[in-house]
Amino acid sequence: MHPKSGEPILKVCGLKQYFQVSGRFTVRAVDGVDFVIYPGETYGLVGESGSGKSTIGRSLIRLYDPTAGRIEFDGMDISGRMSRGDTERLRTEMQMIFQDPMACLNPRKKVGEIIAQGLDIHHLYRNRTERTDKVAAMLEKVGLAPEHADRYPHQFSGGQRQRVGIARALIMNPKLVIADECISALDVSIQAQVVNLMKDLQTQTGTTYLFIAHDLSMVKYISDRIGVLHLGHLLETGSTEEIFNHPVHPYTRSLLSAIPRPNPRVEKDRVAQSYDYKAEGVDYRKGTRHHLGGQHYVLATPEELARWTNGE
C-alpha cells in the first residue's frame, strides 16, 4: 500500500453528534472523532453496532446537523450552516450507497429514472439523448445491460439492486462515496462481485471511498486505511497493515481475534479474546491521540499506552 500524498479530501476534526432523547437524556452517538481521508484511497470504518459508524457517515453527508466539530470537504467547510452553492456542490460531489438494496430504491420508479434522478435535479445534461447515453454507459459500467433501465427494482436480485445503488451514486462523478454497510445484506458470492466492482470503478474513476462495515475481512480486503470505532470514539486508526499486524488498543485486538477464519483446524480450538470496557478501566474521554509512527494513531492516556505497548 503506497502512502497517499497531498491534501486530504476530507478532514474531520472533533466531530460530535449528540441526539437529545428527552429533557435529561442525551445520546452521545459520536463523541469527538478526528480523521482524514486522502483522494483516491479507501478508508474503512469498523466497529460493533451502536459504535456510531453509520452516524458518522450520515453526519458527513449532512443528513444530520453535527453538534460540534469541523468537517472540511475538498477545501470547503461543511459542518455549520452552508450556503446554497455549497450545498449544491456537496450534493453532487459526495454520494452515498446504502445498506439495504431492497429498501433504498424507489419501487415505483424505473431503474433508469432512479439512476438519472441526480442528473435531473442538477441539470447535468443538455438533451434527452445525452441523458439516456449517460445512464446506459453507467449501467454497463456496473455490469448491467442498458435494457435494464426500463425495469423496476423488484425485477432484480439483491446483488443487481446493489449495482443500481452504486450506479446511482457514481453517475454524479462524486469525489467521495460513502458506502454504509453496502455489502452486509448480500450473500457471500454476491458480496465478492460487488466489492470487485467497487474496486474496478475506483481504479477507473479515482473516486475516494469511505467504507463502513463490521465485516473485518472484507474491510481488510478493500481498505487502504482503517479506523476502529467504539462507543462513539475513534480508538485506533492507521494503515490496514498497521491495524492488522500491530494492533495496540485492546478493543482492536479483541475485534481482530473474533474474526472467524475459514480454516477448520485452526478455528476449532481458537477462543476469541473478550474485551470489557468497564473491566479494563478505560475511560475514552480521558484519552488523547498518540502518534505511533506512520499513520498509526491510538486513543489512550499515557499510562494505558505504556501498558498496552509493553504488556505483550
Binding site: N196, P260, P262, N263, K268
Partner: protein, 366 residues
C-alpha cells in the same frame, strides 16, 4: 470422529418440496438426503434461496401453508424419559402430535433474528418457563428455578433480576442468549440454528458460537447449523452439506470440504470469501446468480454458472460420486470419463496457506 456404531438422530431421504406461488409451482427442494448422528454438528451451507432453511423447517414440521411435500421421509429418533428410543417420520405425523411431542421439546430451533423471535409483551422469564410448563408439566416454582439456572448457563449476569426484564431492555447479544436458553429449556435432543449469528456483531458472534459449542459438549446433543458463512462452519461443524438450488451438491467432513473440495460450486464459495491472508488480488466470484426454480432446470442446475461445465451437464443431472466413505460430490467432473480438472490455482494456494497456518498455529500452542 471415532468410528463406532453411532445412533442416527435425523435421517432425511429423497425429500422434495414444492411451493405453490402465484407465478406457478416452485420446486424448492429436489431430492435431499441428510444424515445426522448423535452428538455431531452438521452445517448446511448455501446461498440464499438454495433451500437450506426450508429443509430444516420441514424437519421441524413448520413448513409454510403453501408448501407441499412431494416425496421423501424424515426419520427422527428420540428417547422417552425412561430411555427407550423411538423413531418417527416427521412428515407422517399430525400437526397436533408434532406440537405436543416434537416441537420445542425434542427439536428446538434458534432463529436468525433475536429481535423478532422473542415476544415483546412477555417478560423473558415467562418466555423461558412457558415451554417447560407445557411440555414437561413442571410446576411453576421448578420451572422458574430451572430458568434462572439456564440464564446463568448461557452467560447472563444476575439471572434472577433479568427474569423480570422485557426483550427491549436487553442488547442483541443478550437477546440471542435468551433465545438459546428458551431452546434449551426442554432439554431437546436436536438443536437447529438458522443463521444464529448473522444479525450479530463479530465479537458477539464468536461468544454465541462458543456458548452453543460448550452446551452441546455438556449435554451431548446434536446441532444443525444453517449458514452461508464459512468462518462459522470452520469453527463449529463436524460435517458439511453444501446445497445449491434445492439439492445437496457436496457433503463431507469439515476437513474434506475445506482442504479437498471437489465440486466447482464449493470451490467458488470458498474462493469468494476473503480470508485475512488474501493479498491485494481480485476476489474470485461465482458469475451470475442462482437459477429460478419456477422453471424446470435441465441437467445440472449449476452448469450455467460453472466455468468447468462439461457438455453432459446441460443434458443430465450428475449423481453423487463417492470420493471417500464420508465425502460425496454431485459433479460430472468426478466421472471416470471426464477430463481431469483441478481446482482453481488461487484456491489451491489458499489451502496450502491454510495448512501452513495450521502448522504455525500448532507450534504456537505448543
Amino acid at each position: 470422529m471415532e468410528q463406532k456404531t453411532r445412533e442416527k438422530v435425523l435421517e432425511i431421504r429423497g425429500l422434495s418440496i414444492t411451493f405453490r406461488t402465484t407465478a406457478g409451482p416452485v420446486h424448492a427442494i429436489r431430492g435431499v438426503d441428510i444424515d445426522l448422528y448423535r452428538g455431531d454438528t452438521l452445517a448446511v451451507v448455501g446461498e440464499s434461496g438454495s433451500g437450506k432453511s426450508v429443509t430444516m423447517k420441514a424437519a421441524m414440521g413448520i413448513l409454510d401453508k403453501n408448501a407441499r411435500v412431494d416425496s421423501g421421509t424424515i426419520r427422527f429418533t428420540y428417547h422417552h424419559d425412561d430411555g427407550t428410543p423411538q423413531t418417527v417420520d416427521i412428515l407422517k405425523m399430525k400437526k397436533r402430535e408434532l406440537r405436543r411431542h416434537i416441537n420445542g421439546k425434542r427439536i428446538a430451533m434458534i432463529f436468525q433474528d433475536p429481535m423478532t423471535s422473542l415476544d415483546p409483551t412477555m417478560s423473558i422469564g415467562k418466555q423461558i418457563i412457558e415451554g417447560m410448563l407445557w411440555h414437561r408439566r413442571a410446576t411453576k416454582a421448578e420451572a422458574w428455578s430451572t430458568a434462572v439456572r439456564l440464564l446463568d448457563e448461557v452467560g447472563i449476569p444476575e439471572p434472577e433480576k433479568r427474569m423480570k426484564n422485557y426483550p427491549h431492555q436487553l442488547s442483541g447479544g443478550m437477546r440471542q442468549r435468551v433465545v438459546i436458553a428458551i431452546a434449551l429449556a426442554c432439554d431437546p435432543e436436536l438443536l437447529i440454528c438458522d443463521e444464529p449469528t448473522t444479525a450479530l456483531d463479530v465479537t458477539i458472534q464468536a461468544k454465541i458460537l462458543e456458548l452453543i459449542q460448550r452446551i452441546q459438549k455438556e449435554r451431548g446433543i446434536s446441532v444443525v447449523y444453517i449458514t452461508h458463512d464459512f468462518g462459522v462452519v470452520a469453527k463449529v461443524a463436524d460435517y458439511v452439506d453444501v446445497m445449491y438450488a434445492g439439492k445437496i451438491v457436496e457433503k463431507g467432513t469439515v476437513d474434506e470440504i475445506f482442504y479437498d473440495p471437489r465440486h466447482p460450486y464449493t470451490w467458488g464459495l470458498l474462493s469468494a470469501m476473503p480470508d485475512l491472508d488474501t493479498a491485494d488480488e481480485r476476489l474470485y466470484t461465482i458469475p451470475g446468480s442462482p437459477p429460478n426454480l419456477l422453471h424446470k432446470v435441465p441437467g445440472d442446475a449449476f452448469a450455467p454458472r460453472n466455468p468447468y461445465a462439461l457438455r453432459i451437464d446441460k443434458r443430465a443431472e450428475p449423481p453423487m460420486f463417492k470420493v471417500s466413505e464420508t465425502h460425496y460430490a454431485a459433479t460430472w467432473l468426478l466421472d471416470k470419463r471426464a477430463p481431469r480438472v483441478a481446482m482453481p490455482a488461487e484456491l489451491r494456494r489458499r489451502i496450502q496457506r491454510m495448512e501452513k497456518g495450521e502448522e504455525q498455529h500448532a507450534s504456537k500452542v505448543r
